[in-house]
Every structure is written in C-alpha cells, then in structure tokens.
Symmetry: C2
Subunit: 337 residues, 2 copies
Amino acid sequence: MAVHIGKQSVKFDLCAVVTATASTVGTKEGEGPLKEYFDVVLKDNLAGKDSWEKAESEIARQNISLAIKKAGLKNEDVDYIITGDLLNQCCGSTFGIRDMGIPYFGVFGACSTMGEAMALGALLVDGGGAKRVVAAASSHFCSAEKQFRFPLELGTQRPQTATWTVTGDGAAVLERKGKGPKITGITTGKIVDMGITDGNNMGAAMAPAAADLIERHLKDFGVAPDYYDVIATGDLGYVGRSLVCEMLEQKGITLGDRYIDCGIEIFDRETQDTHSGGSGCACSAVTFAGMLYSKLKSGEINRLLFIPTGALMSPTSLGQGESIAGIAHGVVIENVR
Amino acid sequence: MAVHIGKQSVKFDLCAVVTATASTVGTKEGEGPLKEYFDVVLKDNLAGKDSWEKAESEIARQNISLAIKKAGLKNEDVDYIITGDLLNQCCGSTFGIRDMGIPYFGVFGACSTMGEAMALGALLVDGGGAKRVVAAASSHFCSAEKQFRFPLELGTQRPQTATWTVTGDGAAVLERKGKGPKITGITTGKIVDMGITDGNNMGAAMAPAAADLIERHLKDFGVAPDYYDVIATGDLGYVGRSLVCEMLEQKGITLGDRYIDCGIEIFDRETQDTHSGGSGCACSAVTFAGMLYSKLKSGEINRLLFIPTGALMSPTSLGQGESIAGIAHGVVIENVR
C-alpha cells in the first residue's frame, strides 16, 4: 500500500515497473541532439493527414500502439490509458485513442501532463486498481502555434524568451510485474502563480512551480539533490532553468550539473534556432521515453527525479488579463530490485 | 487493496467515504425542480466578475471551499483536488483553485468529468495515496455557449435535440474515514463513437457510450439493474435517455423507472424551455452533490450507480468533420457499514 508522506508526496510499496516506452517525434526533433534515442522520426509532420490536429492524433495513435507492442502486450491487456495534450478539449488524445477500446482517463496538466499521467498510473498500479497502464502525452508545434499564438503563415517573429513546442508523443507502459526501472515515489504539484502575463515567456511562468516542487520533494523524502543522478524538469528552457537555479540557491539548495531541462536537451542551441529551447507536453514525454529511459535501462542513470512542468492558461484567459499559473509534477524513477 | 474485476471495473476494499458535498448553481437551475437541494443559488450568473470565464472560476472557487468547510476541514487537510471543466485548457478549474495551495490533478472527461474525478479520488484513497480528496466539476451556460456554439447576443435558435449547459459547480469530499455513503466500485469507460456529427445532439452522441458502460458494469459486477435503487446517467437528456433504454432493451436489459438522467431531473420540461434537458460537467456534478447525495444520506437511496457522460469534441474537431466521441464513467455509491 502506498504511503502519503510529507505534504505533497507518496512513497510506493508495489512500485510500478516501466516495462517499455515509445517515442515518436517530428522532423526538427529528429535532427536534434537526442535523435538516436527516438523510436520513430516522422518524415512528414502532417503524418499523412490533412490538418495539424489530425496529425497530432495520428502521432498519438501510432506511438501509444507502439508502446503497447514494445511491452509485448495487446490492447486488451491494458487496463487504462491515461493521456492528455494541449489542444482544446484534449482532442489530440481523444481522437488518437478513439478506436483502441481501452478504458480512458483524460488528464490536463498543460505541459506537465506526462508527469501527471505517470503519477496517476503509478498510483493505480500500486493501489491494485490496475495491472497495466499506458501513460502518455502529445503536442504538435503547428497545432499549438495555431491555437495559442498566430497562424504559421503569418511568419511572426518570436522573442528570445519563447520556446518551441515539440512535435511528438511519448508513452510509457507501467506494469505491476516485469523488468525495468520502477516508479518509487511521486510529489504532486500545487499551482504557483507569480503574476507572469507574457505568453512568450513560459519558462519564467513555470519556474516558480518547479522550484517549489523540488524544494517540497526534497523535504518530503528527506533527501539532498545528490541522491539523484539526474533531476530533469520538463520544458523551462534556458530562461526557466536559470531562474530555478537562482530561486533554489536563495534557499540554500544547489542542484549543480545533475539538473537538466528536457527543453534544453532536445534541440541544439547553436544550429536549431529555437531561442529558449523546447516546450509542450511532448517535450518531457519524448525525452523521458527516449533518452532518459534508455539511460535508466543501461544503468547510466540509476535515480531520476523527473519533473514535467506546465503553464496553465488559454488564449482567452491571457486576453482577459489573467496571469499564467504554473504547475509541476515530480516522479521518481529508480533502478531498484 | 482494490481488485480489478471483469474488463473495466474495480471493486474497492477501503471504500472512500463521501463525507460531504457542496453544490452551487446559477439562477435558472435555482428555479428548477432540484432547487431545494442546492447549497447556493447565485443571484447573479456573473458571480460578481466581468467575464463568464472568470465567473465560472469564481463559482468553482467558492463551491470547492464550501465543500471543504462542510466536511469540517481546512485546505491543508486535503491531499488532492481532482477537478476539470469544459473551457479550453480547463481554465475554469485552474483559476478557481489557483490560490488554495492544494496539490492538483487536472482531469478532462468533458461532461463525464465528475465521474472521472470521483473514480480517481476513490482509487487514491483506497490505494493509500491520499487520506482526503476533493473531486469536483464545473460548467457555465454562458462560457460554454460562447466557446462551443455562438455568442449569446446572437439569439440563435436552438433545435429540440439541444441541451442546456448547467451553470454551477459540484464537489464531493472523499475520505478514508468518516460518516457517509461509500464508493464501493467503479467502471471506467472506453471511447464509443457511433459517428454522430451534430453538435446540437449530444444526447445521441453520448448514449452509445452510456449503454456500453451500463452493460459492461452489470457483467463485471455480476448484478442485475434491480441491484440499484437508482441508476443515474449524467446529461443525456430526453433524446439520449430513450436511446439508452432502446439499445439496452435490444440486449435484454431493462432498466425501468430506477433509471434517471440528471439532465432530465434538473430542469422542468414544461416551464423551463431547455428542449432536451440539461448538460455540461456541472449537470451531473450538482445533481449528485445536491439531490442524490441528500437521498443517500437520508436512506431514500441506498445503492446508486452514478454515470456521468461526456461528449469528446471541440469546435475545431467538429469543423474538420470529426464525429463526436462519447465516454461514460460509472461510480457505485452505497450505504454500507
């Protein structure tokens, strides 16, 4: 039975095993530093469909199916799919998994969705409610730009604080039994809003939530940052990462080189011109399903604190003068017996 | 420990107790047949704010706070809030609970959200991940019409198959210990899409998912419809309810008078002119938090199968020719020792 510890955390007893992952990405991500780790790199970002939204659903469909296949399972073996995305009413996910016939919990955590999905999946497996769960998240640069910012055809100039929404889907299969690294704990985020209203500076909007979560996590579990081989936030980019370091330094917490951000890892700063880095639900999802999971399997990483980060807003809320609320969800994945 | 039974269900061991509920509704709902059961009837559907979206957030804020208070708790006693709504990027919920400082799992199940939130909440409490969870859902007639259909000012005529989005928020406090009816099981829905593309006929779009869920639930739990005092779907309205009865009759399942639909209960057909009935996340949420919970407490109902129903779509998906996918989540609430 899981134990609720500290203020925001759960320590698992029957830790869910991450038995397989799958990652499918767009063309730009397939040219970046993590390319060797992805299962599928699309040749066409429309994935053979006639709209960006349908493309995102198709990517989700193909990638979740691939994750199930890689785990040696069939659709009927999976008790739940927990997934979400950035599109209005989470349509990327809905239409992606529509024909799978698998019970579905839709989640919305903006770009923190992969963390939320993995946390809930681990809670279900540990609690006996499920033997096997697929946790996933998707985003698409073109559907996100169209929905949150401007039509691509406008060629709008992006400021240096802006991040680039990752095209792709990352999925993880969580099982009660099997081989692989295990989810040993979670720390669930509360909303932190420091009043940022610039939709082109999501890193700054999310950084306070990430810093708050890391501080809380270390207290709840009674560990220092050096317990972890890697601490990886979701999509803060260069701007957000430096803010997290600064805020935690003020509280006497030094993360050091073990702290990486998936948005910084996924694109090359010099050659790929994404400004502050990558973002979107898929940013942390594909980086986990690709590079981080691969290094956990090989033993290069044995203890990972994975913290997808989300900016809670809509074009309507921004237009009505609301600030951008941040959230972060922490998931501990370890190689344990 | 929970036990996964049949294909889509979980039977609980440490059943979460629904120790308190709160319901806040708009003016029209406050004039309907269920008015005596609601905690708060707004005098002003703007709730003192300057936009419908901000009003929805304010209603969510006030109602969730009221539920926590009615359970005799403070914010810091609550381990998680699980909530969602219909607005793009679930902003109704986000900005409603922003300042509460409670760990937050955002969910999206369209109008089935209350069922999803209660199911996940019960899984968390049973599994040891939480002692106390608030499950909630909100919707607002005006923000929903504006976002999904037409500006209210246009005075668009609504067809007879259309339903009326309920304004309000329903919240339930689920605890490991305490007095009240208990969540003894859940059946989680898969997406069922029969190809309906009429955004003004949500009842027909959701009915196949509801019928599928009921059939599955009865098989998984090995019970007949008469095990329950009341079987309540979320917001199918007159059109959807009759379709569910018809589809189940064809499979030899007769639900009879014990089968009600929250969308039919909440408005008066003769005097309130809502056409096919009520809908929206709040429709099932406030009907449960109000009338159904009250009757469970008094013993007028001892066994309830509560099935919020959702139509998974967005104006974009409809515009691109996608059909409306349906989902339904079943929650069993019983008076047991």
